[in-house]
């Protein structure tokens, strides 16, 4: 316990320096700014803003990135509430009741509750990371290559189960991602694989490049498809009265608590926890509500619960990254990319060798959440005005920003072309109902999986049963198999689809 407090104290000591506070503020602001733009989700935002952290010291860069991440998430909920366009998957359910509240002229309380819920969830999750970090790091040391491999299989299966639509197609996307991650030099032999002697491919496909293509460019092209002037049911009423009433607070408090608990648990699991957390929280609220018919008509719990849940999950998803070195989702994978650029290899060693970095980042998460409350409520007016910029002018600007962003990562024009190609690929995937998120996750976990698979088999002298004979690994594999069977069972599939259908209406 004492260790926990000394760790947190160390963290706050690092985070509370003026320069880091400033970086956190800028990150949160810029993150919100980009996150508010429709059609740019969290992944694209982080990928796009990655280059601006290159010149900073490692701690500062990570603090700023964390700020960008929360800002982008918060920006996503703002658009959900104000214009019924979810900035990203995690705030899809927020549109259901949030936009209804806005239509009734209660956009202010909806935004405030979203911010307060997120902040509360952020506080709890920060403590949770601090508490769980050290013991999980010890657990990580007991992990051999076989366990790591099994854990990643479990994570990928989770992603499949949580993805909407066909299980088969989701698995296919993961394998495609794994295959893409093989491009470049082989880690062990150094042989060039599927690089066709293109020097820029020797290091493999850049993760940010693919993310920007599949999520950024593809989304823009898709939006153009629908006609540039997207249906923007903008709330024209003036936003009056930001603060929620006493009744609002009383109604939403239990919902925030439940959302936080659910989100924290789901976030730790690898494979896109934040999305399912918000869906699960909304479904739970609707189930236990005395009068379920209020949902979809501006029930404040319907905003409070999912927003708390997605924020809690977004934050606890740092746990597997910091302790095991496994990025549980695409945003975390970008964080790994950023860390690698600064020469940090995430995993149990970082906790021990660079405690000021880890704890500084954890503390800054809390500060970042606090800042979001303070800066965003007064700035809502500006975000609304930003949303009035017509898409015909917005999308070329986004294209240019993305292009400059990708170019500046390596100063390589080829990267820009590749991102464009992946944009077209992403457009094709959307057209054929393939989800790009599992592809990205597969690409992220590919190198780690291959390395651990090779090592595990080398240690076991080519014996494939090693994954089932080591107890920890066997448990992980069994869980993965169980989940996969569940996902394939038709009765459950139906229910799962219902959860998602709800969000699309």
């Amino acid at each position: 316990m004492a260790e926990l407090f000394s760790n947190l104290a160390l963290g706050f000591g690092v985070a509370f320096t003026p320069i880091n506070l400033l970086l956190c503020l800028i990150g949160a602001l810029v993150g919100t700014l980009v996150g508010v733009l429709p059609g740019i989700g969290t992944i694209a935002t982080v990928a796009m803003l990655l280059p601006i952290t290159f010149g900073l010291p490692p701690v500062g860069a990570l603090i700023m990135l964390a700020g960008i991440y929360y800002g982008a998430q918060y920006g996503g909920s703002t658009t959900s509430i104000l214009v019924n366009i979810p900035g990203e998957a995690t705030s899809v359910v927020t549109t259901l009741d949030g936009f209804q509240m806005a239509k009734q002229g209660r956009a202010g309380p909806a935004l405030a509750i979203a911010a307060i819920g997120s902040f509360f969830a952020g506080c709890v999750a920060t403590v949770l990371i601090a508490v769980l970090g050290a013991p999980l790091t010890k657990l990580a040391l007991a992990f051999g290559p076989a366990e790591y491999f099994s854990l990643m299989v479990l994570g990928l299966i989770f992603a499949v189960v949580l993805a909407k639509g066909s299980v088969l197609k989701a698995i296919a996307m993961i394998v495609f991602g794994l295959l893409l991650s093989m491009v470049g030099s082989d880690i062990e032999t150094g042989a060039s694989r599927m690089a066709f002697n293109i020097p820029e491919l020797a290091d493999g496909l850049g993760f940010a490049t693919v993310a920007m293509g599949v999520f950024g460019f593809a989304e823009i092209i898709r939006n153009l498809d629908a006609g540039a002037e997207m249906d923007r049911d903008l709330v024209q009423q003036k936003i009056t009265g930001l603060m929620p009433t006493k009744k609002d607070l009383k109604d939403s408090f239990p919902a925030i608590l439940r959302g936080t608990a659910l989100g924290s648990i789901l976030g730790i699991l690898p494979g896109g926890g934040a999305v399912i957390a918000s869906f699960a929280a909304y479904t739970l609220e609707k189930k236990i509500a005395k009068d379920p018919s209020r949902f979809g008509r501006g029930a404040i719990e319907g905003v409070a619960a999912p927003e708390s849940a997605n924020n809690a999950a977004a934050q606890t998803s740092f746990i597997p990254l910091l302790t095991l070195g496994i990025p549980p989702n695409a945003v975390m994978a970008l964080m790994v990319g950023a860390m690698t650029i600064h020469g940090i290899v995430p995993g149990p060693q970082v906790m021990q060798k660079q405690p000021e970095l880890v704890w500084g980042m954890i503390a800054s998460m809390w500060i970042g959440n606090l800042m979001l409350i303070i800066i965003n409520l007064p700035l809502v007016g500006i975000w609304v005005r930003l949303l009035r910029v017509p898409y015909r002018l917005m999308f070329p600007s986004i294209v240019i920003f993305c292009a400059i962003g990708i170019y500046s990562i390596n100063n390589a024009p080829v990267d820009v072309v590749l991102a464009g190609a992946f944009g077209l690929l992403g457009y094709w995937l959307i057209k054929h109902d393939f989800e790009p998120a599992p592809l990205l996750l597969g690409m992220v976990l590919g190198p780690l999986m291959e390395e651990n698979l090779r090592r595990a088999l080398l240690i076991s002298r080519g014996d494939w049963t090693v994954f089932l004979t080591r107890p920890l690994s066997a448990v992980l594999m069994a869980t993965a198999a169980f989940l996969l069977v569940l996902a394939l069972l038709p009765s459950l599939r139906k229910k799962r689809d219902e959860v998602f259908v709800e969000s699309e209406t």
Binding site: S166, M182, E188, S397, V399, V417, G420, L425, H432
Partner: protein
């Protein structure tokens, strides 16, 4: 691959016995990707003893993808599914052109020209484009980017054409 400009509904091209064209074509494409990966990694070393060669994992995943592609295709054959939605050509074409032009001109011509040209090209991606406002916004954006990236963020971007500086 997605640039094929096709305006009419694609479903007429598909024979009737394919019940889910969207999945059928999707599966075919996965098969093609898998075969391509198998071909591309065919020159790599395979297993030797217990240890993986450079080509083992790529081939393993390629075979897996091949199987999944066939499965998706079969699903498209036997189960009723979505038709292929039409592809737009204008958006993908101009956005790709803009990206390409940025990549080609950023080194020799510098950020100012490259960013402005790409802005105009990508703006053509929608029929609602208006020349006057696009040019004004393009100029503002170019100025903003020229200040933001090289100065505020300190990224090593060249602003003006190389031949002008020398």
């Amino acid at each position: 691959m997605s640039e094929t400009p096709s305006r009419g509904p694609v479903k007429y091209i598909m024979p009737k016995w394919i019940r889910g064209p969207q999945d059928f074509v999707g599966g075919l494409a996965l098969i093609a990707i898998a075969l391509f990966a198998l071909w591309a990694s065919s020159d790599l070393q395979g297993m030797h003893g217990f240890s993986f060669g450079a080509g083992t994992a790529p081939r393993m995943f390629a075979v897996l993808l091949l199987g999944l592609g066939i499965a998706v295709m079969v699903v498209g054959l036997v189960a009723d599914g979505e038709h292929i939605t039409t592809y737009a050509w204008r958006g993908p074409l101009f956005v790709s052109l803009a990206i390409l032009s940025f990549a080609l001109t950023i080194r020799p011509l510098g950020l100012v020209i490259s960013a402005f040209a790409s802005f105009i090209i990508s703006a053509l991606g929608t029929p609602e484009m208006k020349w006057k406002e696009t040019i004004i916004v393009g100029i503002c954006l170019t100025i903003g980017c020229s200040l933001l990236f090289p100065y505020a963020l300190g990224l090593p971007l060249q602003l003006f054409p190389r031949f002008l500086i020398q």
